[in-house]
């Protein structure tokens, strides 16, 4: 007779036994995945997010595993700074992802516009079989990686030069640039390609979602790897200094490039921001609806008023 479903599952904590079983399984997976069935203890502790004592506990649990019928046993020991799994008895193929991990994998593959064939292979290999690909996403993120991440990644790994079409803030249409990709940088406000602009011979940051097209060229990137300055440092070095004033009840914006804030007697605050894009600044002053105003220079103030009247 088919077993009746249980009416109600008891309230249970995730017990210590559960976490110990998890840890031991993860350690077996980790050891089984390495060529010599050996992993540095500190690396294992980091991967398992556990202490050295908890690692010992997992080793002890595994070392007691034995199968009377086949005679198989798990042989695991510490060898100086390493953990070693000897013999094949306890080798464990990696488990499929949990439902939570599967939801994140689906999100990663979707947000980076991975090729459908790659997605299919990864899904079939790793996702839990209960995961159905057509469902709406259960995890999400506000960071946009655009649609050219795989091509940019290929260019970065192959050290290839690229032709990209890119629309910077304030431009109405994209224009082409030839760049040597250096890295991809993710910050609180977006994901960027850091690259050397070949024509300008200077490092630049390109927001990924504004890159309209990527052509990986059949020529090597020739720009030497160089450190692209942080946004604040770059603005400090080359940004235009604009003095602004903000109303008493309003907070100073959390922009990069803000310096020299000082309170005034009426409760308002004056501060200087360095910006590489006046159009960007104009939009944000307008969004403040009169609570923020440009004090100097005069041509920036006049430029804002002209722009506002054109809208």
């Amino acid at each position: 007779m088919p077993r009746k479903p249980r009416k109600q599952q008891r309230n249970t904590a995730l017990t210590l036994s559960d976490t110990r079983v998890d840890r031991a399984i993860r350690l077996l997976e980790l050891l089984s995945s390495t060529e010599d069935s050996l992993v540095a203890a500190n690396e294992a502790a980091r991967q398992l997010a556990c202490t050295d004592a908890q690692l010992d506990e997992a080793i002890e649990l595994i070392s007691a595993l034995a199968d009377r019928e086949s005679g198989a046993r798990a042989v695991i020991f510490r060898d100086h700074g390493d953990i070693v799994l000897a013999g094949d008895g306890a080798h464990l193929t990696p488990l499929r992802l949990s439902l939570g991990e599967g939801a994140v994998l689906a999100h990663v593959m979707g947000s980076l516009a991975l090729d459908a064939n790659v997605r299919d292979r990864l899904s079939r290999a790793l996702l839990p079989l209960a995961h159905t690909g057509g469902d709406a996403p259960l995890v999400a993120g506000s960071t946009s990686f655009g649609t050219h991440y795989p091509a940019l990644r290929r260019a970065l790994e192959g050290h290839r030069r690229c032709r990209i079409s890119y629309r910077s803030h304030g431009e109405t249409a994209p224009r082409e640039r030839v760049v040597d990709p250096l890295s991809i940088d993710v910050t609180g406000d977006g994901a960027y390609l850091l690259a050397q602009d070949v024509e300008k011979n200077a490092p630049r940051r390109y927001r990924l979602e504004r890159i309209g097209r990527v052509e990986v060229l059949d020529e090597p990137a020739r720009s030497a790897a160089c450190a692209v300055p942080a946004v604040a440092d770059s603005l400090r070095a080359s940004g235009t200094a604009i003095e602004l004033e903000i109303a008493p009840d309003k907070p100073i914006p959390a922009w990069s490039g803000i310096e020299q804030a000082r309170p005034l007697a009426d409760g308002s605050t004056r501060f200087t921001v360095r910006t590489s894009s006046l159009p960007w600044l104009y939009d944000h002053v307008l969004a403040a609806g009169g609570a923020m105003r440009i004090i100097a220079p005069a041509d920036a103030r006049d430029g804002l008023v002209s722009y506002a009247r054109s809208l």
């Binding site: 997010a49 199968d67 798990a74 992802l97 790793l126 609180g188 403040a288 609806g289």
Partner: protein, 348 residues
């Protein structure tokens, strides 16, 4: 400051001498993994080396059933095999359900793993992301799924490498509850500093502007609410199982500035120029509402807004992208008022 105690489930005291339950669960996995043939029920429940064989068969059978459920929660599936035509009274045999349990090695190519690892590292770099625990697990499994892994792939980017032991136990516990689809008790401190105790069913998890959030069915209100993870003071025991409604979509909870108000919503319509790509529109709108191309190629974005003034300010912050409000009239009026006040402020 919120009390950031780890969930009680993660309060790991001094190691105990022998954890018989953990030992029995691992032994069951080990024996079934090593067994060349399915094992009969009797072979399992009478085996004292395995942790059963107490002399009380009914008790051992119950223990075996609970152990199967426990292992299933850990992603290890044990299949019951019956000989075709056998009666219900004949005993079953048991074997690991390898297709459900194990990742399919050989499917993942080296270039897939390489791309996936880079993609994961890009996501690990998102500030304040709540996805770190699952991302690290996926990264490891992607590499483990390859027969031969180049050494360089296992080395993490220094920028994304953090001390795993310092990982937030609250975030770990949320992922466990979400993966197991089990409710969890939560003590939460809202933005006004008010504390509450609730039982939640986590439907979705999302990162938004350098912070992590959950969208969860909340027993206090009976509604799906958004909670900021760093305002969760404590998590308790896992509770009953639940199912996530098919229609749930975490993207709908990526909030915009004009969502943060109470009261009724207005249907706001904005336009964007035809030159904007889908990726640009997606980045501005977070995929909220409905964005579609009109016959002339321009974009029309329709979205519910609770705060018309904030919606006008949002459109102005994207004015150079070509964003313009089309309606309703109060939204267009608010846009004009923002511009007029700005011009007036600069005339003085």
């Amino acid at each position: 400051m919120a009390d950031r105690h780890a969930a009680e489930a993660y309060d790991d005291p001094e190691p105990m001498p022998v954890d018989e339950t953990a030992q029995r669960l691992l032994n069951l996995l080990f024996v079934l993994n090593a067994a060349p043939r399915p094992l009969a029920t009797e072979e399992i429940v009478s085996d004292s080396d395995l942790g059963y064989g107490s002399g009380n068969r009914a008790s051992d059978l119950r223990k075996f059933r609970r152990d199967r459920e426990k292992l299933e929660e850990r992603g290890v599936y044990i299949a019951e095999l019956k000989t075709p035509g056998s009666s219900e009274t004949e005993q079953s045999a048991w074997a690991l359900d390898r297709a459900r349990t194990f990742a399919a090695g050989g499917l993942v190519r080296e270039e897939d793993a390489r791309l996936l690892v880079a993609a994961i590292d890009a996501h690990l770099a998102v500030p304040g992301s709540p996805f770190e625990p699952p991302l690290r697990a996926i990264r490891t499994k992607a590499l483990e799924s390859l027969e031969a892994v180049e050494g360089e792939l296992s080395v993490e980017d220094e920028a994304t490498r953090r001390d795993g032991t310092a990982r937030d136990a609250i975030t770990d516990a949320l992922w466990t509850a979400f993966s197991l689809r089990r409710t969890i008790k939560m003590r939460y401190t809202d933005a006004a500093g008010k504390q509450s105790e609730r039982v939640i069913a986590v439907y979705g998890i999302f990162s938004h502007e350098s912070a992590g959030y959950i969208a969860a069915l909340d027993d206090a209100s009976g509604e799906v609410r958004t909670f900021r993870i760093d305002r969760i003071a404590r998590l308790g025991a896992l509770g009953s199982p639940y199912e996530i409604p098919d229609a749930f979509d975490a993207r709908a909870y990526l909030f915009l500035p004009f969502d943060l108000a109470s009261g009724p919503t207005a249907t706001a319509v904005f336009t964007l120029p035809a030159e904007r790509t889908e990726a640009e529109v997606q980045a501005i709108t977070y995929g909220r509402g409905r964005a579609q191309r009109e016959a002339d190629g321009t974009w029309s974005w329709t979205v519910e807004a609770r705060d018309v003034n904030a919606a006008a300010a949002f459109a102005l912050s994207h004015a150079h992208d070509g964003m313009r409000p089309q309606g309703p009239a109060p939204l267009v009026d608010a846009w004009r008022a923002h511009i007029e006040r700005t011009v007036a402020a600069h005339a003085s």
